[in-house]
């Protein structure tokens, strides 16, 4: 299908982009990152913005840098880069592993880390790992930059803390160097979205789980931190039995939907099974 007509700008810097958006006045603006969610929406004419601002030429939004106790990932870093970047693999392996499960190689080469987080699809694979690792979201707007914590970023279905006229520019992810990680994705066929996904990062000390972070994909309108599981894991031996027992808490505080791909009860069950598997794989 063909999108409705729109104007198109491709600014070369974040400041220029913000100015273009601010200058649009009453016209509806949509920001284009990798286009892997936006273009289908436009083609199906579920949305018809007046102006599309393409971030593709903004070099400063792409790439990863070491930022002390965190790594900073540019919003326009592609899923494929997230799977490969040595800094990410070293300090936030969970993100690399999750990105590897997104769709197919074509989509991963176009789709971006920032676009996935800004889009906030409940079935998307990147939000839960970002939440689990306690990422901070750097948002630029007309009045400067602000940083939003992970727990405040995902506010509702397809909705985030990014306001009108603002851009997500960078995601700071605290270093989890040496942590074990795993993303357990469950879907119908390989190129489709998660029915349920579980992101787990675990630090094991002498056979005991010292710290655990678990995020759930598609168990509610927003990604959810499985805090009950995390608490139950800490201090437990890194054994299959202990982990499976802790994973029984995985659906606590969740609010999964019944939809065409799965019923609520099945999702709740899956969350427990997959959490056990994710944590077990993460401890290695």
């Amino acid at each position: 299908m063909i999108p409705a007509a729109f104007d198109y700008e491709s600014p070369a810097s974040v400041d220029e982009a913000l100015a273009v958006i601010a200058g649009a006045g009453d016209r509806e603006v949509k920001v284009l990152a990798g286009g892997q969610s936006l273009i289908p929406v436009l083609r199906l004419r579920m949305n018809a913005p007046d102006l599309v601002v393409d971030l593709g030429r903004i070099a400063e939004l792409r790439g990863v840098r070491d930022d002390g106790d965190a790594i900073a990932i540019g919003a326009m870093t592609t899923h494929d880069d997230v799977t490969r970047e040595p800094l990410i693999r070293q300090h936030a392996l969970l993100l690399s592993l999750a990105a590897q499960t997104v769709a197919d190689p074509q989509v991963r080469h176009r789709g971006t880390f920032g676009g996935s987080l800004a889009h906030a699809d409940p079935a998307a694979d990147m939000p839960a790992p970002a939440l689990a690792l306690g990422a901070e979201f750097v948002i630029a707007g007309p009045s400067g930059r602000r940083t939003v914590g992970a727990s405040d970023f995902f506010t509702d279905l397809f909705t985030t803390a990014i306001g009108e006229g603002e851009l997500l520019v960078e995601v700071r992810v605290p270093k989890h160097t040496g942590w074990g990680a795993h993303y357990e994705k469950f879907n119908h066929v390989a190129h489709t979205w998660s029915i349920v996904g579980v992101a787990a990062a675990v630090r094991v000390e002498g056979g005991t789980i010292a710290e655990a972070k678990v995020g759930l994909t598609n168990m509610g309108l927003v990604p959810i931190r499985a805090t009950a599981v995390e608490q139950a894991l800490v201090g437990q031996p890194a054994t299959a039995d202990a982990i499976r027992a802790a994973a029984q808490n995985a659906d606590q505080g969740t609010n999964p939907m019944s939809d065409a791909s799965a019923d609520e009860d099945y999702r709740r069950h899956l969350a427990k099974v997959l959490t056990g598997r994710a944590v077990l794989a993460a401890v290695g």
Partner: protein, 831 residues
């Protein structure tokens, strides 16, 4: 590539040549219809009904008409006088109900996705913009979706004017036909006999979307003497004829061209509403027009496949001998009849008895209208449904009797030495060797080893359970002997046409009426011609898909291209040689009777004098020196009408693992040994098998077209219609046995549909086999993880299941628990 078969002299037959058409097809640098751009061409967009059943209260096209770039807007009412009635070629019964099918609905819509208005504009984007500005008010009418409901008294009607939702009832009864016994008597006898049993099951064939890669596209040029239509179609010849009928114009005024076509699987066997609408608008505008559907439009409005409810009753002796088979079908036509819609179930009617000697058989099919897009042929068309039902029943019977399902099949199948064999449907299976294919498959599969592992996993209640599924299939393809089609009231024959043009340079142009849409005809046919005429493979050009190049043909479907079209080519080549012989004799100053032809050379018997076919072609072209009384031409054509269908067969074995914690089904091993007779190009044949397997496995595990209660298709994108990709497929172990067909000179059989027909029951039999410890004996397709998980919830796991003692004591225990496994050793005909 140049090894010569010592016995036949064939250089090309049997060579795994890579397909010469692939470079252009894969890169897309070729003539896809949508790539065609003509000067001044206009573009169409369709306005489609979002409601499944209703009347059009009003259509407001004022805004659309003034939208930028718009050249015109037409509603169904505007076109109704000239749009005619889209034809169905198969009146399955004399009293079949046949609703009128307009290209553009006027007044009444009958499925969601039906076209209600057409926009023409200078660009596709402008056409789309204008389409969004058409405002249609519908008065909703009750929606009929469920087949069982549809046939009940008092249910609203899809077509009020027909007075019923039943399209036709078609029956085959072996007792009445004189080809077998009376099935009701067989079943009654089994009920009365303590040494017999009767089992009854109901299976559901879900709706599927053919999902060809290239969406349908049509370009029409109305200028000039002939109307020229380029279209992504499998059937340019049939479409040309039908278009002439619909428009009431002479066939000679229509040129239909199928350029390169990206897949079909049956989904492009039609004259479509979109094609007719494009022609009508092109004629009105007097300029070229293009319409290309979107993927969602394609999923919504191109025909679907399958959608049947099958009630099967099977009677057998407790020693495993099947005594009767009765089939009661409900088949969903959807809202209209396409080219062969009502005949699809009937293509399956003759295949429920499959490879077995079943003495009494009855098939009854009730075709039903519903408010859904029509169904029609989809890879296998009728035969996958039949194969599924019988192969599921054979596994069910084996389980009831506690015998190995392969042994049970062998007990009933036609033995190699019994061919040719006339089936209970009256078909003559010309050749087959089920023992050989099965032996090879069992060997490749490690049947015994996997059965052992299955028993171990059951015994320890492993979270991963293993199931083994079998499908020993045959099918009838190579459509079709014309007289048989006539006896079934089909509106056309089943022959195929070919012509060979010998160019002065010795190059060869081969015309065929079988137009490829991805199968590799150009390569396989070139190999055949290279051998027949003894010319280099590279010197052969295959021309197809244009009714002005190949004026006649019956196109590509039903695994017919090689076994019918390929044989027509052989016949034409034989004529070329016969025509060339007197000229060669003349050139060699010899008697025609002494001329021998071998590997491209005419020679005088017993001498070393000879002339090549290329030299004869040049001499004939120059025509300076040729015999009196004959024409200076060695071109020839042939029309081949097969005397029989083609009966490929094979044994497919599937092992599935079921993750009992999530319900996920994974194919652990898939082995198939197909027998498609002799093989022209093993690489292409294997490709057909792989693709076929993927589609059959997809029906078992993933695909389903679903509607909500208002009749809206809820799986209209590939996000919701879960089409698998290579990433979801297991590695296939494929092999072939070669039992040459005795019905054609090459010994070949069809392969295009085999994988799809065979694989679905193999997978589901494996899934059910894994679930038997929970007392599960059937599961609906597609077997999604959730469906499997829900099926085992709240059920007891009984590891000893299947170990139940069998009544006659001849089998100690069931498979996986020590019962004698099929080894193939006792089957004399093996190998």
């Amino acid at each position: 590539m140049t090894a010569v078969d010592e016995t036949t002299g064939a250089k090309e037959f049997g060579q795994s040549r890579r397909r010469k058409e692939d470079a252009r097809l894969i890169t897309g640098r070729t003539k896809w219809t949508d790539n065609i751009v003509l000067p001044g061409m206009a573009h169409l967009a369709m306005v489609r009904s979002p409601v499944a059943s209703g009347t059009i209260a009003s259509i407001d096209v004022a805004d659309a008409k003034t939208s930028p770039g718009v050249l015109g807007v037409w509603t169904g009412a505007d076109l109704d006088a000239e749009q005619g009635d889209l034809p169905c070629a198969w009146a399955v019964t004399p009293d079949m109900k046949h609703p009128r099918r307009p290209a553009v609905a006027a007044g009444r819509v009958k499925f969601a996705g039906e076209i209600v208005a057409v926009i023409a504009a200078r660009s596709a984007a402008e056409a789309r913009d204008a389409a969004d500005k058409v405002i249609v008010d519908y008065d909703d009418l009750p929606v009929v979706l469920d087949m069982n409901e549809a046939i009940k008294e008092g249910t609203p009607l899809v077509h009020e004017e027909l007075g019923t939702n039943v399209n036709a009832t078609w029956i085959f009864d072996s007792g009445e036909a004189g080809t077998g016994g009376n099935v009701d008597e067989a079943i009654a006898a089994a009920h009365a006999d303590p040494d017999s049993l009767v089992i009854e099951r109901t299976f559901r064939q879900q709706r599927l979307v053919p999902a060809f890669m290239e969406p349908r596209s049509t370009v029409v040029d109305p200028t000039g003497e002939q109307l020229t239509v380029w279209s992504a179609t499998q059937v340019p010849h049939i479409a040309r004829f039908l278009l002439a009928v619909v428009l009431g114009i002479s066939e000679s005024k229509v040129r239909f061209i199928a350029p390169d076509v990206g897949g079909g699987f049956g989904g492009k066997i039609h004259l479509s509403p979109e094609e007719v609408a494009t022609v009508l608008i092109a004629r009105k505008l007097g300029k070229p027009v293009k319409y290309t559907e979107t993927r969602s439009e394609s999923i919504q409005s191109a025909h679907h496949g399958r959608d049947q409810i099958q009630k099967i009753t099977l009677s057998a002796k407790k020693d495993g001998t099947v005594t009767g088979l009765k089939v009661d079908l409900l088949a969903d036509m959807g809202a209209y009849l396409g080219l062969v819609t009502p005949g699809v179930p009937i293509l399956g009617a003759f295949m429920y008895n499959a490879i077995y000697k079943i003495p009494a058989y009855q098939f009854k099919c009730v075709n039903v209208f519903t408010n859904k897009v029509l169904t029609d042929a989809y890879r296998g068309a009728g035969r996958p449904e039949a194969t599924y039902a019988i192969e599921r029943m054979m596994d069910t019977l084996a389980n009831e009797l506690g015998v190995d399902p392969l042994a049970l099949r062998e007990k009933n199948w036609i033995k190699h030495e019994e061919f040719p064999f006339t089936s209970v449907c009256g078909l003559t299976y010309d050749s087959g060797n089920y023992e050989a294919a099965t032996s090879r498959a069992v060997e490749l599969f490690d049947y015994e080893g996997l059965r052992r592992e299955q028993a171990e996993r059951r015994a320890r209640k492993d979270p991963i359970q293993l199931g083994i599924g079998i499908s020993t299939f045959t099918e009838m393809c190579g459509l079709a002997p014309s007289r048989v089609l006539g006896s079934l009231n089909y509106g056309a024959g089943g022959w195929e046409y070919s012509a060979i043009r010998m160019l002065p340079t010795g190059k060869v142009e081969v015309l065929t009426g079988a137009s490829a849409h991805g199968q590799g005809h150009e390569t396989a046919f070139s190999q055949i011609v290279a051998d027949q005429l003894g010319v280099p493979f590279e010197d052969v050009e295959i021309l197809h898909g244009d009714t002005q190049i190949t004026h006649k043909g019956l196109d590509t479907y039903g695994s017919r291209s090689l076994v019918v079209g390929g044989i027509a080519i052989v016949k034409a080549a034989e004529k070329v040689i016969e025509k060339a012989k007197p000229i060669a004799a003349h050139l060699l100053e010899a008697n025609v009777a002494d001329i021998e032809f071998d590997s491209g050379k005419f020679s005088v018997a017993g001498t070393d004098k000879g002339v090549t076919i290329q030299e004869v072609a040049l001499a004939t072209f120059a025509a300076h020196n040729y015999p009196e009384g004959i024409e200076p031409s060695i071109d020839a054509d042939a029309t081949f009408d097969p005397e029989n269908f083609s009966y490929p067969h094979g044994t497919h074995l599937c092992a599935t693992e079921i993750d009992t914690e999530t319900g996920k089904v994974t194919i652990r091993k898939y082995v198939c040994v197909d027998d498609i007779g002799t093989v022209v190009n093993p690489l292409i044949a294997e490709g057909q098998v792989h693709g076929g397997l993927a589609q059959g496995i997809a029906q078992a595990l993933w695909e389903e077209a679903r509607h909500d209660e208002s009749g809206t298709l809820t799986t209209a994108t590939f996000v919701d219609y879960t089409l698998p990709t290579a990433a979801d497929m297991p590695f296939f172990t494929t092999d072939m046995t070669e039992t040459a067909s005795t019905s054609n000179p090459l010994g070949v059989k069809g392969v295009g549909e085999a994988g799809t027909i065979a694989s679905t029951p193999a997978v589901i039999n494996a899934v059910v086999d894994a679930l038997r410890p929970w007392g599960i004996d059937d599961i609906q397709m597609p077997t999604t993880a959730q469906r499997v998980w829900k099926a085992i919830q709240g059920k007891e796991f009984d590891a000893s299941v299947g170990a139940k003692d069998t009544r006659d004591g001849s089998h100690e225990a069931a498979p996986g628990n020590g019962a004698p496994l099929w080894s193939g050793n006792e089957s004399g005909g093996a190998q």
